[in-house]
Subunit: 351 residues, 2 copies
């Protein structure tokens, strides 16, 4: 266990200089700083453990400044994680990795400086390499909501592919021929999976894939309403819509009822659910479901227990299957597809 004085001797400077390099960026000339940092690495110096009265878990966001993108999923993650941590008698530090800057030596040291003993990591888009780097240092961490091949990385996530396929099959089995999909504009691997599952299921059921029936919108309630407007005003409208996000599902249902249709008589709807939203609408909607706050809870509690044990022995590589719940928004298609003008006027007479 080398001290700053050892490093100082190694770099042939005073201990004061080492201390300054480590804590007061910009106060030491560049060449000297380099020499000291090399000595730090050579001697294997690492800053002392911060004597904290309480143990902290980090809930770490990676990639870009974390601003407005905090959606329902993240709200569930943050509050689920905070709650679980408090139950385990840990405190939770919510932080953005970018705001901490690149680590001086290792991420382990970086986290130690803040007082974080273990991290639940949530990556937005980028930051996968970061997760791997942290994991490979052996720092106790779990990534939430993403999957990794690298065996060093612990993660907890959901896989919605099978149930996305089941959702579309369910509609096909009821007799729907023209099944539309409403999907988030911003592409990510999750939504790409769902997109693919939709096409696979159509093909498996021998239904034609019509690109017109895929609508890309912002995944909020207005987006869902827009999708309904657009789809139902087509010359040959769908009789069922598969919404791949919770809020767009709710918005779609609201808009459908607003223009005077009955669900599921006139239009069948399958949605996605992050929590309990499907039980709140009327009718309660058929959905591919995942419990996101449970994800955070699992990750946090596992981490807390690991830290309590001392040694970081375990691994956690858990891909939860979503579950598919049939509720009251899906039924056989109407004899005649219902067509509605964008303003809400029914265009085709009923049979």
């Amino acid at each position: 266990m080398p001290s700053v004085r050892d490093v100082a001797r190694h770099a042939d400077v005073s201990p004061a200089t080492v201390s300054r390099v480590l804590n007061k960026p910009g106060m030491v000339s560049a060449e000297l700083r380099d020499r000291v940092l090399r000595a730090v690495r050579a001697t294997g110096y690492s800053p002392p453990e911060r004597p904290v009265s309480n143990d902290h878990l980090g809930l770490v966001y990676t990639g870009g400044p974390v601003t407005a993108e905090f959606g329902g999923f993240d709200a569930a993650v943050v509050s689920g994680s905070a709650q679980a941590a408090l139950e385990e008698r840990f405190d939770v530090i919510v932080t953005g990795l970018d705001s901490l800057g690149p680590p001086l030596t290792t991420y382990t040291d970086l986290f130690r400086t803040i007082g974080i003993r273990g991290a639940v990591i949530r990556t937005m888009g980028e930051g996968r390499e970061l997760c791997e780097a942290i994991a490979e240092e052996g720092f106790p961490a779990v990534v939430i909501g993403d999957r990794f091949d690298n065996p060093a990385v612990n993660y907890v996530c959901y896989d919605s592919v099978a149930d996305s396929r089941r959702a579309v099959s369910h509609l096909a089995d009821l007799g729907h021929k023209r099944i539309a999909m409403c999907i988030h504009m911003v592409r990510d691997s999750d939504h790409d999976d769902r997109r693919q599952a939709y096409r696979d299921a159509l093909e498996a059921k021998g239904l034609e894939y019509d690109p017109e029936l895929t609508v890309e919108v912002i995944a909020d309630s207005n987006g869902g309403a827009t999708a309904v407007n657009r789809l139902l005003s087509m010359a040959s409208p769908p009789t069922a819509i598969f919404f791949t996000d919770p809020l767009s599902t709710v918005g779609g249902i609201r808009r459908t009822l607003e223009i005077g249709l009955e669900i599921p008589r006139d239009l069948s709807i399958v949605g996605f659910d992050d929590g309990h939203l499907r039980k709140l609408t009327y009718p309660p909607f058929t959905a591919v479901c995942q419990d996101s706050s449970r994800l955070a809870t699992i990750a946090t509690k596992w981490l807390a227990q690991q830290l309590r044990m001392g040694e970081n022995v375990g691994t956690l590589r858990l891909t939860n299957e979503t579950f598919f719940e049939v509720n009251r928004t899906t039924d056989v298609p109407p004899a005649q597809p219902v067509r509605v003008s964008p303003s809400g006027q029914r265009l085709t007479p009923k049979t």
Copy 2:
């Protein structure tokens, strides 16, 4: 700025003993600890500022172990606060005050030990004295969701009394004579206010107060459904219901539609909203609204700015008024009140 050595001299012990008293509870005999603590107070010693690379804000929960009671409001608070803090480039430490134990000297020291420079406090029921104690030490803190007479306490909260009255008046003005209220079983000052506002508004409009029309349930979606069942099966059912919680409102609407009634034709509904729930249901519901995550955002940003300034100069004593939004769930009452059996059968014929 006295050091441990000064304290040691004052208490006539060694610096080592002082250090032990301050950090290793139970390692020092009781009488010596007392002597040292008295010396600590006498000399005005306070532990050194923890040199953290990042500044931390505390989101502090008081009173009892924080467990399952994390409702939608708290989820909004935690995620709103975390997001705001990250934007201000602070980290948030979520902690429960009880888990920290009683402070050795002052709360200021306690927080400093953890690295918390300012606190957003959310109290569950008890803990009001605690907030005052913290505020009176001059520690930068804002209480969220509660009001204080003590001028030392900074707070941000909502007042729903005026709009609760307006909600009931709105129904009365539409011609409703029998207006029911669905309220949370667990009493707190907020709900007591709403209860009183309901009675006041009835009286102001010259309507009779019927205790039968007040239903107490758990404030979740099932509770709302139960309330509808109970109220609509009364011999003389109400023509309007005032729900005083967001989830019970949604549950009430769902149940009403489920038993085949039309809203607002057969039953008018006014609810409460914490966020954007009112826009998600069909029909979007008329509601007394507050934006709870905004509450957290205001508190957190104000705190962050205070800390950036250095001196804790300002005060923040903000009672937001809720706002009342008329949507599509309220209209004139039906000619004949609709009565429904608990199983969902209509009991009175329509006019």
